[in-house]
Amino acid sequence: MPSALINVPPKAKRGDVIEIKTLMSHIMETGYRHTASGEVVPRDIITSFACRYNGTEIFRADLYPAIAANPFISFFTTATESGKFEFEWIGDKGFSETASASITVE
């Protein structure tokens, strides 16, 4: 069952460099493993992650099979104005999850 964890500082001063942390629960099945009977376990990974800050994309990542289960992605940005961060994970088998968090910039 997918579930997102987000850590965005609730408050920041204008111009502050802030750290954003995300974690998405996901199996990240590589597609290179076989079952006991020799069948390939089909690939099931998150393929892309993106973050928008008040509608503008500020961070994007492509994910590949070598990335471990439950990808933890952390990055930095500059706090420019109060508003909303929106996060989106897209992957195999129609996987699509979103999350959001607000920030007050003083």
């Binding site: 942390k21 974690l23 629960s25 289960a69």
Partner: protein
């Protein structure tokens, strides 16, 4: 600093042996009293020192250990929960000395492997032909921001038995009913991997009996752990709703500590606990690093057949400090390694090829008085590393009679292993 010491009985025996050797016209015998020093008098070091003397009574064996009294970690979770006294965990080195081991009650502060000497805290030195390092663990007080040695006086790790064990117990006794006890668990490798969960169960037993509205929160830098299903089932059965665990993938990894406010920060949340048991990341005991036997991981790489350091000649490393592949860091493993290492040293000194060790490990976990389960393993070198040859874990659906029997067996195991090392 040059040191002269009074001739000991051993010196006298040695010179007598030398005289005898000369009269027998066999000069090699004059050197045939190799000196083996063991640093660290825990389960590994004490078992190794005694085994060396037992295998070859001609060896001069010195055990270097600053504490005159050893305090055992296994069963110390019972002390925290008020089910056992610390004195029941304590042992002297009298019997070790009675086996002909010279016990130097000093801290080793320096190792000069070129000169083959060990510097002690009082300035004296001990010479060796072979050195066994069994220093156990030290806390990495630089690894978790906010958590240093001073912080451990407020938020105890209780990961070395003794004062820290009693401090955590006192804090639990002083806590109000309805408080939260947090246990922070580091990522592997750590001493006794299932012990945080054993501790959670035994603290829950104390709280259920004395402070039933209280809760336990485990903040874990791991997703999975040894005997997980057994622990989870036992908690559900004995302490429903009392123990909450936040695993790594749920954001459980602790990233910093504030000892001023008892606040624990993870990647995704902040928690304040009335009692905070912070188990920090660990490394091999400091003397291993000083000697140069530890690598960038903080632990000591070894040849699994002989426990010889991969970094230094004439030095062996056993117990929690060494990198032993699939063998969990435990008292049982350290004891088995100590004996196998002693055999490897005796063989090497006799110019014989080493035997391949087959080590037995046992790990008992007590969840409540009369309720325990276990993992027993046999470990052998494979591809340059120890691997599990056979592992048997208690059945998940066993009856309470079986759990009771394992609790009794656990006590028997403790008697046997402490007897091996100190009795």
């Amino acid at each position: 600093m040059a040191v002269t010491r009074r001739p000991t009985r051993r010196d006298v025996v040695r010179s007598a042996a030398a005289v005898a050797a000369v009269t027998l016209a066999c000069p090699s015998l004059a050197q045939a009293s190799p000196r083996v020093a063991v640093i660290g008098g825990g389960f590994g070091g004490a078992a190794c020192a005694r085994a060396l003397r037992r295998l070859d009574a001609g060896l001069q064996v010195t055990l270097i250990e600053p504490n005159k009294i050893f305090t055992a970690c296994p069963f110390s979770n019972e002390v925290i929960a008020g089910l056992r006294e610390l004195t029941e965990q304590q042992f002297t080195y009298d019997k070790v000395a009675a086996d002909g081991v010279t016990v130097a009650a000093q801290a080793a502060v320096k190792v000069d492997n070129q000169a083959r000497t060990i510097g002690l805290a009082d300035g004296s030195t001990i010479a060796y032909d072979r050195l066994v390092l069994a220093p156990g663990i030290d806390m990495r007080f630089d690894a978790l921001p906010g958590y240093d040695e001073a912080a451990s006086q407020k938020m105890p790790h209780a990961w070395k038995a003794g004062e820290q064990t009693l401090l955590l117990r006192k804090q639990l006794e002083a806590m109000d009913d309805g408080g939260t006890v947090a246990i922070a668990v580091p990522a592997a490798p750590l001493r006794c991997p299932p012990a945080p969960y054993e501790r959670a169960g035994l603290i829950a037993h104390y709280l259920k009996t004395k402070k039933p509205r209280s809760k336990i929160l485990i903040l874990d830098a791991k997703d999975n752990y040894s005997q997980q299903k057994l622990f989870e089932n036992a908690w559900k059965e004995l302490y429903p709703g009392m123990i909450e665990r936040i695993a790594l993938s749920q954001g459980g990894r602790v990233t910093s500590i504030d000892p001023g406010t008892n606040e624990i920060v993870t990647d995704f949340g902040n928690y304040t606990a009335q009692v905070a048991n912070i188990i920090p990341p660990q490394k091999a005991g400091r003397i291993a690093e000083i000697a140069g036997a530890a690598d960038h991981t903080g632990w000591c790489p070894i040849d699994p057949v002989t426990f010889a350091s991969k970094l230094l000649p004439n030095i062996h490393v056993i117990g929690d400090a060494c990198i032993a592949g699939g063998i969990p860091k435990s008292a049982s493993a350290a004891s088995a390694q100590g004996k196998a290492c002693a055999a490897a040293i005796v063989n090497a000194l006799a110019g014989k090829a080493p035997d391949t060790p087959r080590l037995n490990g046992a790990c008992y976990n007590t969840v409540a008085p009369g309720y325990a389960f276990s993992l027993r393993g046999i470990y052998q070198p494979k591809d340059g590393q120890y691997a599990e040859a056979e592992v048997v874990t208690s059945p998940v659906d066993a009856s309470r009679e079986v759990r009771q029997r394992e609790a009794d067996e656990a006590l028997g195991w403790f008697k046997a292993i402490t007897g091996d090392a100190f009795g």
